[in-house]
Protein backbone atom coordinates (compact mmCIF):
# COMPACT_ATOMS: atom_id res chain seq x y z
CA UNK A 1 0.00 0.00 0.00
CA UNK A 2 2.76 2.41 0.99
CA UNK A 3 4.66 1.59 -2.21
CA UNK A 4 1.67 2.71 -4.27
CA UNK A 5 1.48 6.02 -2.42
CA UNK A 6 5.21 6.71 -2.55
CA UNK A 7 5.52 8.06 -6.16
CA UNK A 8 2.63 10.58 -5.95
CA UNK A 9 3.73 11.75 -2.50
CA UNK A 10 7.31 12.18 -3.75
CA UNK A 11 6.06 14.02 -6.84
CA UNK A 12 3.98 16.37 -4.71
CA UNK A 13 6.95 16.96 -2.42
CA UNK A 14 9.12 17.79 -5.47
CA UNK A 15 6.40 20.13 -6.71
CA UNK A 16 6.33 21.95 -3.37
CA UNK A 17 10.14 22.27 -3.33
CA UNK A 18 10.10 23.69 -6.87
CA UNK A 19 7.30 26.10 -5.92
CA UNK A 20 9.07 27.38 -2.81
CA UNK A 21 12.36 27.87 -4.68
CA UNK A 22 10.62 29.61 -7.61
CA UNK A 23 8.76 32.00 -5.31
CA UNK A 24 11.85 32.63 -3.13
CA UNK A 25 13.85 33.50 -6.25
CA UNK A 26 11.49 36.43 -6.96
CA UNK A 27 13.27 38.24 -4.12
CA UNK A 28 16.81 37.05 -4.94
CA UNK A 29 19.32 38.27 -7.52
CA UNK A 30 20.04 37.74 -10.33
CA UNK A 31 16.81 38.77 -12.00
CA UNK A 32 16.07 38.20 -15.66
CA UNK A 33 13.76 41.06 -16.78
CA UNK A 34 14.28 40.27 -20.49
CA UNK A 35 13.01 36.74 -19.95
CA UNK A 36 10.01 38.03 -17.96
CA UNK A 37 8.99 40.46 -20.74
CA UNK A 38 9.53 37.80 -23.39
CA UNK A 39 7.26 35.40 -21.48
CA UNK A 40 4.65 38.14 -20.99
CA UNK A 41 4.65 38.62 -24.75
CA UNK A 42 4.36 34.89 -25.45
CA UNK A 43 1.70 34.19 -22.81
CA UNK A 44 -0.18 37.50 -22.77
CA UNK A 45 -0.07 38.93 -26.27
CA UNK A 46 0.05 35.46 -27.82
CA UNK A 47 -3.11 34.34 -26.00
CA UNK A 48 -5.03 37.57 -26.56
CA UNK A 49 -6.84 36.71 -29.85
CA UNK A 50 -8.14 33.34 -28.66
CA UNK A 51 -9.09 34.72 -25.23
CA UNK A 52 -11.06 37.55 -26.88
CA UNK A 53 -12.81 35.15 -29.24
CA UNK A 54 -13.80 32.72 -26.50
CA UNK A 55 -14.83 35.61 -24.20
CA UNK A 56 -17.08 37.05 -26.91
CA UNK A 57 -18.84 33.80 -27.68
CA UNK A 58 -19.25 32.79 -24.05
CA UNK A 59 -21.04 36.13 -23.47
CA UNK A 60 -23.17 35.61 -26.57
CA UNK A 61 -24.20 32.07 -25.65
CA UNK A 62 -24.78 32.89 -21.98
CA UNK A 63 -27.05 35.79 -22.89
CA UNK A 64 -29.13 33.70 -25.31
CA UNK A 65 -29.47 30.80 -22.87
CA UNK A 66 -30.24 32.96 -19.83
CA UNK A 67 -32.77 35.12 -21.71
CA UNK A 68 -34.67 31.96 -22.66
CA UNK A 69 -34.76 30.78 -19.05
CA UNK A 70 -35.62 34.16 -17.55
CA UNK A 71 -38.45 34.66 -20.03
CA UNK A 72 -40.45 31.98 -18.21
CA UNK A 73 -40.45 34.16 -15.10
CA UNK A 74 -41.01 37.41 -17.00
CA UNK A 75 -37.54 38.62 -16.04
CA UNK A 76 -35.87 38.74 -19.45
CA UNK A 77 -34.57 42.27 -18.87
CA UNK A 78 -32.50 40.99 -15.91
CA UNK A 79 -30.28 39.02 -18.27
CA UNK A 80 -27.43 41.53 -18.00
CA UNK A 81 -27.16 40.91 -14.25
CA UNK A 82 -27.04 37.14 -14.58
CA UNK A 83 -24.48 37.21 -17.39
CA UNK A 84 -22.35 39.74 -15.56
CA UNK A 85 -22.21 37.74 -12.30
CA UNK A 86 -21.56 34.45 -14.09
CA UNK A 87 -18.83 35.92 -16.28
CA UNK A 88 -16.99 37.96 -13.67
CA UNK A 89 -17.18 35.43 -10.87
CA UNK A 90 -16.69 32.19 -12.71
CA UNK A 91 -16.75 31.83 -16.48
CA UNK A 92 -14.27 34.55 -17.32
CA UNK A 93 -11.53 33.38 -14.94
CA UNK A 94 -12.05 29.65 -15.54
CA UNK A 95 -12.40 29.75 -19.34
CA UNK A 96 -9.41 32.06 -19.71
CA UNK A 97 -7.32 29.92 -17.36
CA UNK A 98 -8.24 26.69 -19.16
CA UNK A 99 -7.31 28.27 -22.49
CA UNK A 100 -4.00 29.54 -21.14
CA UNK A 101 -3.36 26.15 -19.55
CA UNK A 102 -3.94 24.44 -22.89
CA UNK A 103 -1.78 26.90 -24.73
CA UNK A 104 0.97 27.80 -22.27
CA UNK A 105 1.25 25.03 -19.65
CA UNK A 106 1.82 22.74 -22.63
CA UNK A 107 4.22 25.20 -24.24
CA UNK A 108 6.22 25.61 -21.04
CA UNK A 109 6.33 21.85 -20.39
CA UNK A 110 7.43 21.02 -23.95
CA UNK A 111 10.07 23.77 -24.05
CA UNK A 112 11.58 22.90 -20.68
CA UNK A 113 11.16 19.18 -21.39
CA UNK A 114 13.12 19.49 -24.64
CA UNK A 115 15.81 21.41 -22.77
CA UNK A 116 15.93 18.68 -20.13
CA UNK A 117 16.31 15.75 -22.54
CA UNK A 118 18.98 17.56 -24.57
CA UNK A 119 20.90 18.26 -21.34
CA UNK A 120 20.49 22.04 -21.66
CA UNK A 121 19.21 22.23 -18.07
CA UNK A 122 22.31 20.36 -16.82
CA UNK A 123 24.48 22.63 -19.00
CA UNK A 124 22.84 25.66 -17.41
CA UNK A 125 23.68 24.38 -13.92
CA UNK A 126 27.21 23.47 -15.00
CA UNK A 127 27.72 26.96 -16.42
CA UNK A 128 26.73 28.83 -13.27
CA UNK A 129 23.00 29.46 -13.70
CA UNK A 130 20.18 28.26 -11.46
CA UNK A 131 17.61 26.89 -13.95
CA UNK A 132 14.76 27.65 -11.54
CA UNK A 133 15.87 31.28 -11.37
CA UNK A 134 16.39 31.54 -15.12
CA UNK A 135 13.47 29.46 -16.43
CA UNK A 136 10.78 28.95 -13.79
CA UNK A 137 10.63 32.27 -11.93
CA UNK A 138 10.27 34.47 -15.06
CA UNK A 139 7.43 32.24 -16.33
CA UNK A 140 5.75 32.38 -12.93
CA UNK A 141 5.96 36.18 -12.71
CA UNK A 142 4.84 36.66 -16.32
CA UNK A 143 1.82 34.34 -16.02
CA UNK A 144 0.77 35.80 -12.65
CA UNK A 145 0.85 39.27 -14.21
CA UNK A 146 -0.87 38.64 -17.54
CA UNK A 147 -3.59 36.11 -16.64
CA UNK A 148 -5.63 38.57 -14.50
CA UNK A 149 -5.31 41.12 -17.34
CA UNK A 150 -6.46 38.56 -19.90
CA UNK A 151 -9.39 37.68 -17.63
CA UNK A 152 -10.46 41.35 -17.37
CA UNK A 153 -10.38 41.57 -21.16
CA UNK A 154 -12.34 38.30 -21.53
CA UNK A 155 -14.96 39.53 -19.03
CA UNK A 156 -15.33 42.84 -20.85
CA UNK A 157 -15.57 41.28 -24.32
CA UNK A 158 -18.03 38.69 -22.98
CA UNK A 159 -20.28 41.43 -21.61
CA UNK A 160 -19.99 43.29 -24.91
CA UNK A 161 -21.05 40.11 -26.75
CA UNK A 162 -24.01 39.84 -24.36
CA UNK A 163 -24.93 43.47 -25.01
CA UNK A 164 -24.89 42.79 -28.74
CA UNK A 165 -27.35 39.91 -28.35
CA UNK A 166 -29.52 41.83 -25.86
CA UNK A 167 -29.81 44.71 -28.31
CA UNK A 168 -30.26 42.80 -31.54
CA UNK A 169 -32.38 39.80 -30.43
CA UNK A 170 -33.96 40.72 -27.08
CA UNK A 171 -34.88 44.33 -27.88
CA UNK A 172 -33.12 45.64 -24.75
CA UNK A 173 -31.25 48.94 -24.89
CA UNK A 174 -27.51 48.71 -24.63
CA UNK A 175 -27.38 51.36 -21.90
CA UNK A 176 -29.93 49.43 -19.78
CA UNK A 177 -28.02 46.17 -20.27
CA UNK A 178 -24.72 47.80 -19.32
CA UNK A 179 -26.07 49.64 -16.32
CA UNK A 180 -27.75 46.52 -14.86
CA UNK A 181 -24.71 44.40 -15.61
CA UNK A 182 -22.38 46.89 -13.91
CA UNK A 183 -24.62 47.80 -10.95
CA UNK A 184 -25.15 44.20 -9.90
CA UNK A 185 -21.45 43.64 -9.36
CA UNK A 186 -20.25 44.01 -5.79
CA UNK A 187 -16.73 44.47 -4.46
CA UNK A 188 -16.75 40.83 -3.43
CA UNK A 189 -17.41 39.72 -7.04
CA UNK A 190 -14.55 41.78 -8.44
CA UNK A 191 -12.09 40.55 -5.83
CA UNK A 192 -13.16 36.98 -6.45
CA UNK A 193 -12.86 37.49 -10.20
CA UNK A 194 -9.28 38.74 -9.86
CA UNK A 195 -7.97 36.43 -7.14
CA UNK A 196 -8.97 33.38 -9.12
CA UNK A 197 -6.88 34.13 -12.25
CA UNK A 198 -3.94 35.09 -10.04
CA UNK A 199 -4.02 31.72 -8.26
CA UNK A 200 -4.70 29.87 -11.54
CA UNK A 201 -1.68 31.59 -13.08
CA UNK A 202 0.59 30.33 -10.31
CA UNK A 203 -0.75 26.80 -10.80
CA UNK A 204 -0.46 26.90 -14.62
CA UNK A 205 3.13 28.19 -14.59
CA UNK A 206 4.36 25.91 -11.82
CA UNK A 207 2.66 22.77 -13.16
CA UNK A 208 4.02 23.44 -16.68
CA UNK A 209 7.54 24.03 -15.32
CA UNK A 210 7.34 21.05 -12.95
CA UNK A 211 6.48 18.55 -15.68
CA UNK A 212 9.00 20.12 -18.04
CA UNK A 213 11.84 20.01 -15.52
CA UNK A 214 11.29 16.36 -14.62
CA UNK A 215 10.98 15.09 -18.20
CA UNK A 216 12.79 11.86 -18.96
CA UNK A 217 12.69 9.46 -21.90
CA UNK A 218 13.52 11.58 -24.95
CA UNK A 219 10.90 12.97 -27.30
CA UNK A 220 8.24 10.54 -26.04
CA UNK A 221 8.87 11.90 -22.57
CA UNK A 222 8.37 15.46 -23.82
CA UNK A 223 4.97 14.45 -25.23
CA UNK A 224 3.99 12.83 -21.93
CA UNK A 225 5.11 15.87 -19.95
CA UNK A 226 3.06 18.17 -22.18
CA UNK A 227 -0.11 16.10 -21.84
CA UNK A 228 0.30 15.73 -18.07
CA UNK A 229 0.87 19.46 -17.64
CA UNK A 230 -2.36 20.38 -19.43
CA UNK A 231 -4.48 17.72 -17.72
CA UNK A 232 -3.17 18.42 -14.20
CA UNK A 233 -3.33 22.21 -14.58
CA UNK A 234 -6.91 22.03 -15.92
CA UNK A 235 -8.07 19.75 -13.12
CA UNK A 236 -6.49 22.00 -10.50
CA UNK A 237 -8.19 25.05 -12.02
CA UNK A 238 -11.61 23.47 -11.41
CA UNK A 239 -10.67 22.25 -7.93
CA UNK A 240 -9.31 25.66 -6.92
CA UNK A 241 -12.26 27.60 -8.34
CA UNK A 242 -14.59 25.44 -6.23
CA UNK A 243 -12.51 26.15 -3.14
CA UNK A 244 -12.32 29.90 -3.72
CA UNK A 245 -16.04 30.10 -4.52
CA UNK A 246 -16.77 28.22 -1.31
CA UNK A 247 -14.66 30.70 0.66
CA UNK A 248 -16.26 33.79 -0.89
CA UNK A 249 -19.90 32.68 -0.92
CA UNK A 250 -20.13 30.94 2.44
CA UNK A 251 -17.61 32.74 4.63
Amino acid sequence: MLDILKPPVEAFQDFLILSVRAIRNIFRAPHYPDDIFQQMDIIGVGSLPIVMLIGLFSGVVMTMQMARGLEQYGAREQVGQIVSIALVRELGPVLTAVLVAGRNASGIASELGSMKVTEQIDAMRALGTDPIQKLVTPRLIATAFVLPLLTIIADFIGLAGGALIAYSFLSLSISYYWSTAWMVLQYNDLVQGLIKPFVFAIVIALVGCFYGMRTTGGTQGVGRATTNAVVVASVWIFVITSMITRIFLYQ
Binding site: T118, E119, D122, R125, A126, L127, G128
Partner: protein, 286 residues
Protein backbone atom coordinates in the same frame (compact mmCIF):
# COMPACT_ATOMS: atom_id res chain seq x y z
CA UNK B 1 41.74 19.91 7.48
CA UNK B 2 41.36 16.36 8.77
CA UNK B 3 44.13 13.77 8.34
CA UNK B 4 41.99 12.06 5.66
CA UNK B 5 41.50 15.22 3.62
CA UNK B 6 42.84 14.95 0.06
CA UNK B 7 46.10 16.58 -0.93
CA UNK B 8 45.56 20.06 -2.35
CA UNK B 9 47.08 19.15 -5.71
CA UNK B 10 44.40 16.56 -6.35
CA UNK B 11 41.93 17.67 -8.98
CA UNK B 12 39.22 15.11 -8.33
CA UNK B 13 38.72 12.34 -5.81
CA UNK B 14 35.85 9.89 -5.44
CA UNK B 15 35.78 8.26 -2.04
CA UNK B 16 33.51 5.17 -1.98
CA UNK B 17 30.76 6.98 -3.89
CA UNK B 18 27.38 5.34 -4.41
CA UNK B 19 24.51 6.85 -6.40
CA UNK B 20 21.15 5.17 -5.90
CA UNK B 21 18.29 5.98 -8.30
CA UNK B 22 15.33 4.54 -6.42
CA UNK B 23 16.83 1.10 -5.83
CA UNK B 24 19.01 1.03 -8.96
CA UNK B 25 22.68 1.62 -8.25
CA UNK B 26 24.03 3.92 -10.96
CA UNK B 27 27.37 4.09 -9.11
CA UNK B 28 28.36 1.34 -6.70
CA UNK B 29 31.15 2.20 -4.23
CA UNK B 30 33.35 4.00 -6.76
CA UNK B 31 36.75 5.29 -5.62
CA UNK B 32 39.51 6.89 -7.67
CA UNK B 33 41.77 9.94 -7.81
CA UNK B 34 42.77 12.27 -10.62
CA UNK B 35 45.81 14.56 -10.46
CA UNK B 36 46.71 17.67 -12.48
CA UNK B 37 47.39 16.97 -16.15
CA UNK B 38 46.19 13.37 -15.85
CA UNK B 39 43.62 11.77 -18.11
CA UNK B 40 41.19 8.94 -17.35
CA UNK B 41 39.43 7.13 -20.17
CA UNK B 42 36.13 5.52 -19.14
CA UNK B 43 34.80 2.58 -21.11
CA UNK B 44 31.52 0.87 -20.36
CA UNK B 45 28.28 -0.37 -21.88
CA UNK B 46 25.23 1.90 -22.02
CA UNK B 47 23.79 2.28 -18.53
CA UNK B 48 27.02 1.29 -16.78
CA UNK B 49 27.18 4.62 -14.93
CA UNK B 50 29.72 6.58 -17.01
CA UNK B 51 27.61 9.71 -17.53
CA UNK B 52 26.40 9.54 -13.92
CA UNK B 53 30.04 9.51 -12.79
CA UNK B 54 30.76 12.69 -14.78
CA UNK B 55 27.67 14.47 -13.47
CA UNK B 56 28.47 13.41 -9.91
CA UNK B 57 32.00 14.81 -10.33
CA UNK B 58 30.45 18.18 -11.17
CA UNK B 59 27.87 18.06 -8.37
CA UNK B 60 24.95 17.82 -10.82
CA UNK B 61 24.00 14.53 -9.13
CA UNK B 62 24.38 14.09 -5.37
CA UNK B 63 25.83 10.81 -4.08
CA UNK B 64 23.68 8.64 -1.82
CA UNK B 65 26.83 7.81 0.15
CA UNK B 66 30.57 8.48 -0.06
CA UNK B 67 32.39 11.77 -0.62
CA UNK B 68 33.41 13.71 -3.74
CA UNK B 69 36.35 16.13 -3.55
CA UNK B 70 36.88 18.67 -6.33
CA UNK B 71 40.08 20.74 -6.20
CA UNK B 72 40.48 19.64 -2.58
CA UNK B 73 37.02 20.83 -1.51
CA UNK B 74 34.38 18.40 -0.34
CA UNK B 75 31.45 19.15 -2.67
CA UNK B 76 29.22 16.29 -1.52
CA UNK B 77 26.83 18.38 0.57
CA UNK B 78 27.42 21.83 -0.92
CA UNK B 79 24.34 23.85 -1.84
CA UNK B 80 23.73 24.56 -5.53
CA UNK B 81 24.71 28.23 -5.27
CA UNK B 82 27.94 27.36 -3.43
CA UNK B 83 28.88 24.93 -6.19
CA UNK B 84 28.85 27.58 -8.91
CA UNK B 85 32.30 28.99 -8.09
CA UNK B 86 33.91 25.52 -8.07
CA UNK B 87 32.15 24.54 -11.31
CA UNK B 88 33.69 27.62 -12.96
CA UNK B 89 37.00 25.72 -12.93
CA UNK B 90 35.52 22.72 -14.76
CA UNK B 91 34.61 22.43 -18.43
CA UNK B 92 32.11 19.83 -19.58
CA UNK B 93 31.07 18.54 -22.99
CA UNK B 94 27.68 16.84 -22.72
CA UNK B 95 26.71 13.74 -24.67
CA UNK B 96 23.78 15.59 -26.25
CA UNK B 97 25.88 18.71 -26.76
CA UNK B 98 23.91 20.78 -24.28
CA UNK B 99 24.13 23.88 -26.51
CA UNK B 100 21.29 26.33 -25.93
CA UNK B 101 18.98 26.27 -28.97
CA UNK B 102 17.83 29.84 -28.51
CA UNK B 103 21.35 31.32 -28.49
CA UNK B 104 23.84 31.74 -31.34
CA UNK B 105 27.12 29.86 -31.25
CA UNK B 106 28.93 33.01 -30.06
CA UNK B 107 26.35 33.57 -27.31
CA UNK B 108 26.64 29.92 -26.28
CA UNK B 109 30.42 30.18 -25.98
CA UNK B 110 30.17 33.50 -24.12
CA UNK B 111 27.58 32.08 -21.70
CA UNK B 112 29.96 30.76 -19.00
CA UNK B 113 32.02 33.97 -19.09
CA UNK B 114 28.92 36.10 -18.58
CA UNK B 115 27.07 33.89 -16.11
CA UNK B 116 29.67 32.30 -13.84
CA UNK B 117 30.15 34.63 -10.90
CA UNK B 118 33.86 33.89 -10.41
CA UNK B 119 34.62 34.45 -14.11
CA UNK B 120 32.39 37.49 -14.43
CA UNK B 121 34.40 39.23 -11.73
CA UNK B 122 37.69 38.16 -13.33
CA UNK B 123 36.87 39.68 -16.71
CA UNK B 124 35.75 43.07 -15.45
CA UNK B 125 37.65 45.70 -17.47
CA UNK B 126 39.84 46.67 -14.52
CA UNK B 127 43.28 45.69 -15.78
CA UNK B 128 45.49 46.54 -18.73
CA UNK B 129 45.65 43.84 -21.36
CA UNK B 130 42.49 42.18 -20.07
CA UNK B 131 40.90 40.11 -22.80
CA UNK B 132 37.29 40.97 -23.44
CA UNK B 133 34.51 38.40 -23.61
CA UNK B 134 34.33 38.89 -27.37
CA UNK B 135 38.06 38.23 -27.79
CA UNK B 136 37.90 35.09 -25.68
CA UNK B 137 34.89 33.79 -27.60
CA UNK B 138 36.68 34.34 -30.91
CA UNK B 139 39.82 32.63 -29.58
CA UNK B 140 37.82 29.62 -28.36
CA UNK B 141 36.01 29.28 -31.67
CA UNK B 142 39.29 29.68 -33.53
CA UNK B 143 40.72 26.92 -31.34
CA UNK B 144 38.05 24.50 -32.60
CA UNK B 145 38.24 25.93 -36.14
CA UNK B 146 34.70 27.33 -36.14
CA UNK B 147 35.59 30.98 -36.83
CA UNK B 148 32.81 31.35 -39.39
CA UNK B 149 29.92 30.23 -37.21
CA UNK B 150 29.62 33.03 -34.65
CA UNK B 151 26.14 34.13 -35.66
CA UNK B 152 24.77 30.69 -36.54
CA UNK B 153 22.35 28.80 -34.30
CA UNK B 154 23.16 25.26 -33.10
CA UNK B 155 20.38 23.84 -35.30
CA UNK B 156 22.25 25.13 -38.37
CA UNK B 157 25.39 23.14 -37.52
CA UNK B 158 26.30 19.53 -38.32
CA UNK B 159 26.73 17.00 -35.48
CA UNK B 160 30.52 17.33 -35.53
CA UNK B 161 30.36 21.14 -35.58
CA UNK B 162 27.96 21.13 -32.62
CA UNK B 163 30.40 18.93 -30.72
CA UNK B 164 33.24 21.36 -31.57
CA UNK B 165 31.13 24.33 -30.47
CA UNK B 166 30.50 22.43 -27.21
CA UNK B 167 34.26 22.02 -26.75
CA UNK B 168 34.75 25.75 -27.44
CA UNK B 169 32.19 26.59 -24.74
CA UNK B 170 33.94 24.22 -22.33
CA UNK B 171 37.48 25.50 -22.94
CA UNK B 172 36.67 29.24 -23.13
CA UNK B 173 37.02 29.43 -19.32
CA UNK B 174 40.43 27.70 -19.48
CA UNK B 175 39.34 25.10 -16.92
CA UNK B 176 41.63 22.97 -14.78
CA UNK B 177 39.45 19.90 -15.35
CA UNK B 178 37.63 18.81 -18.51
CA UNK B 179 34.81 16.27 -18.54
CA UNK B 180 33.99 14.78 -21.94
CA UNK B 181 30.81 12.69 -22.21
CA UNK B 182 31.06 10.52 -25.35
CA UNK B 183 32.63 13.25 -27.51
CA UNK B 184 32.83 11.00 -30.59
CA UNK B 185 29.48 9.17 -30.27
CA UNK B 186 27.48 9.14 -33.49
CA UNK B 187 30.20 10.81 -35.57
CA UNK B 188 31.89 9.46 -38.69
CA UNK B 189 35.51 8.26 -38.13
CA UNK B 190 37.10 11.32 -39.74
CA UNK B 191 35.09 13.80 -37.66
CA UNK B 192 35.62 11.64 -34.55
CA UNK B 193 39.39 11.79 -35.06
CA UNK B 194 39.17 15.57 -35.52
CA UNK B 195 37.43 15.81 -32.13
CA UNK B 196 40.12 13.66 -30.50
CA UNK B 197 42.81 15.88 -32.07
CA UNK B 198 41.08 18.89 -30.47
CA UNK B 199 41.08 17.14 -27.11
CA UNK B 200 44.81 16.43 -27.48
CA UNK B 201 45.38 20.05 -28.46
CA UNK B 202 43.46 21.28 -25.43
CA UNK B 203 45.40 18.96 -23.11
CA UNK B 204 48.73 20.09 -24.55
CA UNK B 205 48.00 23.83 -24.51
CA UNK B 206 46.39 24.06 -21.05
CA UNK B 207 47.74 20.94 -19.30
CA UNK B 208 44.18 20.15 -18.24
CA UNK B 209 43.17 17.07 -16.28
CA UNK B 210 40.43 15.16 -18.07
CA UNK B 211 37.83 12.45 -17.65
CA UNK B 212 36.69 11.12 -21.01
CA UNK B 213 33.79 8.74 -21.50
CA UNK B 214 33.83 6.82 -24.76
CA UNK B 215 32.74 3.60 -26.43
CA UNK B 216 35.68 3.63 -28.87
CA UNK B 217 38.92 2.01 -27.80
CA UNK B 218 40.61 3.98 -30.56
CA UNK B 219 39.81 7.26 -28.72
CA UNK B 220 41.62 6.03 -25.62
CA UNK B 221 44.52 4.65 -27.64
CA UNK B 222 45.03 7.98 -29.43
CA UNK B 223 44.84 10.00 -26.22
CA UNK B 224 47.23 7.62 -24.48
CA UNK B 225 49.85 7.52 -27.22
CA UNK B 226 49.64 10.79 -29.12
CA UNK B 227 50.18 14.47 -28.36
CA UNK B 228 49.56 17.75 -30.14
CA UNK B 229 52.72 19.52 -31.31
CA UNK B 230 52.06 23.27 -31.02
CA UNK B 231 54.96 24.24 -33.30
CA UNK B 232 53.98 21.97 -36.19
CA UNK B 233 50.24 22.17 -35.46
CA UNK B 234 49.96 18.42 -35.95
CA UNK B 235 49.26 15.37 -33.83
CA UNK B 236 52.27 13.14 -33.32
CA UNK B 237 53.09 9.94 -31.45
CA UNK B 238 54.51 10.44 -27.95
CA UNK B 239 58.23 9.70 -28.26
CA UNK B 240 58.54 8.10 -24.85
CA UNK B 241 55.34 6.31 -23.91
CA UNK B 242 54.61 5.26 -20.34
CA UNK B 243 55.59 1.66 -21.04
CA UNK B 244 59.12 2.85 -21.85
CA UNK B 245 59.50 4.69 -18.57
CA UNK B 246 57.55 7.88 -19.24
CA UNK B 247 55.07 9.13 -16.64
CA UNK B 248 51.72 7.37 -16.86
CA UNK B 249 49.28 10.25 -17.24
CA UNK B 250 46.56 8.36 -19.08
CA UNK B 251 44.76 5.49 -17.37
CA UNK B 252 41.79 3.42 -18.40
CA UNK B 253 38.66 2.56 -16.41
CA UNK B 254 36.13 -0.04 -17.48
CA UNK B 255 32.74 0.31 -15.81
CA UNK B 256 30.07 -2.34 -15.43
CA UNK B 257 26.76 -1.92 -13.59
CA UNK B 258 27.99 1.11 -11.67
CA UNK B 259 31.29 -0.42 -10.56
CA UNK B 260 34.81 0.18 -11.83
CA UNK B 261 35.67 -3.30 -13.04
CA UNK B 262 39.16 -2.44 -14.26
CA UNK B 263 41.61 0.42 -13.89
CA UNK B 264 45.13 0.54 -15.26
CA UNK B 265 47.39 1.53 -18.13
CA UNK B 266 46.75 0.66 -21.75
CA UNK B 267 49.18 -2.24 -21.58
CA UNK B 268 47.37 -3.64 -18.53
CA UNK B 269 44.08 -3.18 -20.33
CA UNK B 270 45.33 -5.15 -23.31
CA UNK B 271 46.52 -7.91 -21.00
CA UNK B 272 43.24 -8.11 -19.03
CA UNK B 273 41.57 -11.50 -19.25
CA UNK B 274 38.04 -10.43 -18.21
CA UNK B 275 35.72 -11.08 -21.19
CA UNK B 276 33.73 -7.87 -20.52
CA UNK B 277 36.94 -5.79 -20.61
CA UNK B 278 38.12 -7.61 -23.72
CA UNK B 279 34.89 -6.64 -25.54
CA UNK B 280 36.01 -3.02 -25.67
CA UNK B 281 39.34 -4.00 -27.23
CA UNK B 282 37.74 -6.32 -29.81
CA UNK B 283 35.09 -3.81 -30.88
CA UNK B 284 37.52 -0.99 -31.45
CA UNK B 285 41.05 -2.24 -31.97
CA UNK B 286 43.52 0.48 -32.75
Amino acid sequence: MTPDSPRVEQVLRFDDVTVDFGGTLALDHVSFELGPGETRILFGAAGSGKSTLLKTALGLIRPSSGRVFLFGADITDLREHDLFDIRARVGILFQEGGLFDSLTVAENVAYPLLNQRALRQAIQPNGAGQRTVDQRVREALHFVELDQTLEKYPSELSGGMRRRAGIARAVVTEPALMLYDSPTAGLDPITANTIIALILKEREMLNTAALLVTHRYLDGHLISNFRYNPSSGAVERISRPAEDGGRVTTKFFVMKEGRILFQGSERELQAASDPYVQKFLRHGSA
